[in-house]
Symmetry: C2
Subunit: 460 residues, 2 copies
């Protein structure tokens, strides 16, 4: 019988996270404050607990995973590494397709890898309440879950269009004792200002971030902090356990290295989690093609400039060096809510600028096509975000067939789509459309960055 | 670090199913035809393919699992055996609580264990289309999934109240290419008759079974058969892979035998799947308490007589020897739709009559209480059916604490509740109620069995 899954024993779990910042050919650029100077840790203290800020700026290559974090991760980790044999057969490809199944976590995605770590560090620092934003709901669910296990309060601002499209996400968060409101809400000044200007806005991650940060920093008790589910260095760090496990599992499967590594990327965390340990290998000379995949309707990596920009719409965050469609960009209402973000993780953007990874973009309809093929071969129903990775995997597997090459493709199946079935329904009913983005629209949306500091156009 | 999960390698998967019928102290009673005589395999041929009928009546203790079935089972099997350490700590119990996580399957429950086997045997027999019923939707989803992988058409009659309470279940089945309609429907004579008599009926599994059987046997091409997700011997058989895996995993954990085995029981299959291999040990002298758990609102095992009765409302099935509330019984609209069945698997009923297992019943509200405790300690959101097992586990763990005994409790976490969040919502809003069943109602509903053949009151 052919093997489908490669398990890893809990005792063989990675005990350290990998920090790509230590190995980049050029050092990462710092975030900048409103004065154009690098932000100091103190300036971030009202937003994040200091133990997380220290991680955010750490130059260390390896960072120990606390025992209490590992213990909770064992509720679903190590996640199984799957061989997608049924998809391979359906495509008739000589490629070997492997994937990490991150859908086995209680909230159903990779997000709790960092949610558990962040809840732990907040708890250790004496924090009692965490605020956050969520797009599709994967992150809000994950943080609700993590807070529940550490006895922390959790408040989630959910992008309005997703709140309406995915009503069960709120119920999921409430099952873990969290509170979830649609964003923009009337509970913050940022939310009220936006509602006054655009009462019918579908919302965006940028807006929801503004609200969640405001709610954290204005709490008079000082016991509230904000948590971000993607973009920042410490989030990428916590996700690297995915790629580190995958390396051990590929090794068990007798695979020396993958030829291709793929992950979908909205803020960048599931992609980085799988890919960064392989980016390290590439830096050290390994031949690996590495593809972050985004929606054509929100083409941050493939069409937006590398610039300094705010992480949120209300311009409350430090300026981050990243590809950005502009902090005021409101992406079209695709179902992959987790990919509707104007920016990108600075470390992912940096790796693009270094030529280490190559972004790609797919349309909504081809992604749903790929997801249906997946469901009817591999059995699992994918999150709409994950379907972007699958679309790229299928393309690469077909290419391997044309070339007659037995390539090893590794990708991150970042989460299941059981909470996202309305998207499948709309797809089957022919109600979904693509949203090609005209060049003028990108020019307009990115013009908000005129006058902001610019990182070097090329690393020398 | 304390271990949470015990994995089993795919190569160590059980290669045979266990058939309790071979070991019962008294032989199982046969199903009876309308004439009161045992039904012959030929009489079942319009309903099931002959290879499944042979399994249904097999006296063999061990039956080989076909290679193609095993291969598909590896998409999620062997399922991990978990130690519920966080619940143990929260309860302060000396008991060791282990559970099989059957929620890792693509449809999210134990049901595909038999769905895959049944789809395989139908395909082998040349069948092209399968009809079935579903209560909460777990079974319909599982069969849709299995049919999709074998290239079979699938049509699901879903109990109307569940169809309305759980709209995403239909979308899930459609994602795998199946068709799902609410039952009673206007597509069958059985459905139309019931709608004419009771237009507002919430439906029941008994009604839906009648419709699905009618749709199968009236197909003029002869290429349609019916599939049942519980109750029958071959379904119990296919589920025993759960208990057989659990035995190997407990062995790895250094546990010689569990003291207590628990599963929820609607038709009996997830309970039997975990418990029957341990019932065998009990027959051979092992001291194990074995508890099937049902809702007080549908108290088949705890309050209904052991009798011959029809499996469906329209009286189209053979008469089965089982505990039954009467084939016309329509259970109150609890959210645990999969436990809303008037009868019970004949093998489970038989084991009760032999004194090998001891049924228990719980109210809806105490089950949701248990499920919330579970979600906030063990992290996973449970199906409302599964919550019945959890309620019994918590009671036994508390009892172990009172007695100061380090008992080993093993139970079947039969599925996740991500498709059942409306029930949690109603629970949090205080909208759920219990449905204690007056004795007169049971007397009335069981009176439909007057005049039907009676099995022996006691096995001698």
């Amino acid at each position: 019988m052919e093997q489908t899954k490669i398990f890893l024993d809990e005792k063989d779990m990675p005990r350290q996270w990998y920090n790509l910042a230590a190995d980049l050919p050029h050092p990462p650029l710092p975030p900048l404050g409103p004065d154009g100077n690098p932000v100091s840790p103190d300036m971030l203290a009202p937003v994040f607990p200091m133990n997380i800020i220290e991680q955010e700026v750490s130059p260390d290559r390896w960072i120990n995973i606390p025992e209490k974090v590992l213990e909770i991760l064992t509720l679903w980790r190590p996640s199984p590494l799957y061989r997608a044999r049924r998809l391979e057969k359906a495509l008739g490809t000589p490629a070997k397709i492997y994937y990490k199944n991150e859908g086995v976590s209680p909230p159903g995605s990779h997000k709790p890898n960092t949610a558990v770590a962040q809840a732990y560090y907040n708890k250790e620092f004496g924090i009692e309440r965490i605020t956050t934003e969520t797009g599709a709901g994967q992150w809000g669910s994950a943080l609700s879950f993590a807070c529940s296990l550490f006895g922390l309060e959790c408040k989630v601002y959910m992008v309005r269009i997703s709140f309406e499209q995915k009503p069960f996400r709120r119920l999921m968060m409430e099952s873990w004792g969290a509170r979830c409101v649609p964003s923009p809400s009337t509970e913050t000044k940022a939310g009220r200002d936006i509602l006054a200007a655009s009462p019918d806005t579908p919302g965006s991650l940028g807006i929801a971030i503004s609200e969640a940060i405001e709610a954290a920093v204005t709490d008079p008790t000082g016991k509230t902090r904000y948590s971000l589910g993607s973009v920042l260095n410490h989030v990428m760090l916590h996700q690297t356990i995915i790629g580190l496990e995958a390396k051990k599992q590929l090794n068990i499967a007798g695979v020396k290295k993958p030829d291709i590594v793929i992950g979908c990327a909205g803020g960048g965390s599931n992609f980085a989690g799988l890919a960064f340990p392989f980016v390290a290998d590439k830096i050290n000379g390994a031949e690996i093609e590495i593809y972050p995949v985004e929606p054509t309707s929100c083409p941050t990596m493939t069409r937006a400039p590398y610039s300094y920009d705010f992480g949120d719409t209300a311009m409350t965050t430090p300026l981050l060096p990243m590809h950005s469609l502009g902090h005021a960009f409101v992406p079209p209402p695709i179902h992959a809510g987790g990919l509707r973000y104007h920016g990108m993780a600075p470390l992912v953007s940096h790796a693009i600028q270094e030529g280490l990874i190559t972004p790609r973009a797919y349309h909504q309809l081809e992604c749903y096509d790929a997801a249906v093929t997946w469901a009817r071969t591999e059995g699992f129903i994918s999150a709409p975000e994950t379907s972007h990775a699958i679309a790229a995997v299928i393309d690469e597997a077909k290419k391997a067939k044309e070339e007659g090459k037995e390539k090893v493709i590794l990708f991150n199946w970042s989460g299941h789509g059981l909470m996202d079935l309305t998207g499948y329904d709309a797809f089957f009913q022919g109600k979904l459309v693509d949203y090609p983005l005209p060049e003028e629209e990108i020019k307009k949306s990115t013009s908000v960055m005129n006058g902001l500091p610019k990182p070097p156009a090329k690393f020398e």
